[in-house]
Symmetry: none
Subunit: 225 residues, 2 copies
DNA sequence: AAAAAATTTAAGGCTTTTTTAAGGTTGACG
DNA sequence: CGTCAACCTTAAAAAAGCCTTAAATTTTTT
């Protein structure tokens, strides 16, 4: 689950990042409007936390541009307490929610959860693809009684594979979406995890396999394809 | 996906090339403004990374000339950190984005991705020409249930043939666009791959053929033309 | 602080893709 | 009809990409 924070007060930004990182979100932070828009346009985030007052480009502009570019990532606007809320909620700024500074960490987490519930995590719990069940909230992979627990990264990868059936996910894609934008993970990291996942799929006797397509990436397939 | 780097600092140029090559981009590097313009005019690139300070012809001139010649390749300008950003973004230099040196590799990649997303990959998935279907995102070629997987280069070639119906693509063209500008692939490489492709077309009982026109190149045709 | 779990790194083996090379076809042209 | 250049096809060598595993490292839990 990836979050982008666009906030120029570095102290606040860091605090936000910390709160979210503790909850296992992948967090990227940028400090001005230009970067905010660029990163947002990547479309890889599940939520964007957007300050309004920003260098170069304010939060409204960013939200507007994002929507114009068909990026539907939920946006949580951060407003100073003296900004009129109407400005945010009313004006079709593209924001999905707003929050006035200062705020309690719990409030932040609650709002983010609310935003990602309907948007991001379309795929909850028991999946459709494959001949197995995968409970995303407990990271439990199972078939016919037999089950294993996936660790965080295994689960993230499997979720992506399930969420994009019949699509080939490239290693770079997986790296940016599981390890994060600026990680220095290499392709071998992905390979290793794919290998772990395969072993677990095999362990529960699933006949769904993760197929590698050279130079392209990975895809979930049923065994007799 | 092809990238042209126009940068006279050879060390930086090499670093850039390395970063991009790792991400599977095809990269060509030139070191001065004249070459930059020439290469850029070829129109074969999906992005051009353009330094501003260059021998013979600066980045602005190149961008201007390219646009004048109806080359719409997205341009990412590289500016020294003391150059006023307005100069780049404001002045209709033709650039689509800019980045100040020094920069993080991730930033570069993010920007390039952003630029190519909206521009580049116009042709997606199921094609129109021929009596077969070709899903470009999975590299799957099929007809009436029967299907084969193409490997990377086969797919690239077929994409070009499909994208240019009724046009004859010369071997040199194919070499520069599939193998890259400075590859040392010879005509026999193309011949070999054309042969592979034909076999696969035949395998799925397609009656579309890749016809060779002596001394000219290849073209897609329906069998009774 | 020790133990366990998760993640990363590294190395060697395996498979597929890509290149190379050699001999076979084809068709235009004298 | 024979020649030649361009093209075709195929096998096998070379290279690249991927897999797997164990060991090392880091993080989390106890």
């Amino acid at each position: 689950m990836q979050v982008l924070i666009v906030e120029d007060e570095k102290l606040l930004a860091r605090a936000l990042k910390q709160i979210l990182t503790e909850q296992k979100y992948m967090v990227d932070v940028v400090h001005d409007g230009n970067d905010g828009l660029d990163y947002g346009l990547s479309g890889i985030y599940d939520v964007i936390i957007l300050d309004i007052m920003l260098p170069y480009r304010d939060g409204f502009q960013i939200a507007y541009e994002l929507r114009k570019n068909k990026i539907n990532t939920p946006i949580l606007m951060l407003t100073a307490k003296d900004t009129v809320p109407d400005k945010v909620s009313g004006l079709n700024s593209g924001a999905d929610d707003y929050m006035t500074k200062p705020f309690a960490p719990e409030e932040l987490l609650a709002r983010i959860k609310a935003l990602t519930r309907r948007h991001g995590e379309v795929m909850l719990d028991e999946t459709g693809f494959g001949d197995f069940q995968f409970n995303a909230s407990t990271c439990e992979l199972s078939k016919d009684g037999k089950s294993v627990r996936l660790n965080f990264k295994e689960a993230e990868i499997l979720k992506l594979l399930i969420a994009n059936p019949n699509m080939i996910l490239s290693k770079e894609d997986l790296i940016t979406r599981v390890w994060g934008y600026d990680s220095d993970a290499g392709s071998n990291n992905v390979e290793a995890y794919i290998s772990f996942l395969r072993r677990k799929l095999h362990f529960i006797n699933s006949s769904t396999e993760i197929k590698a397509i050279k130079k392209m990436g990975y895809r979930l397939e049923h065994k007799n394809d």
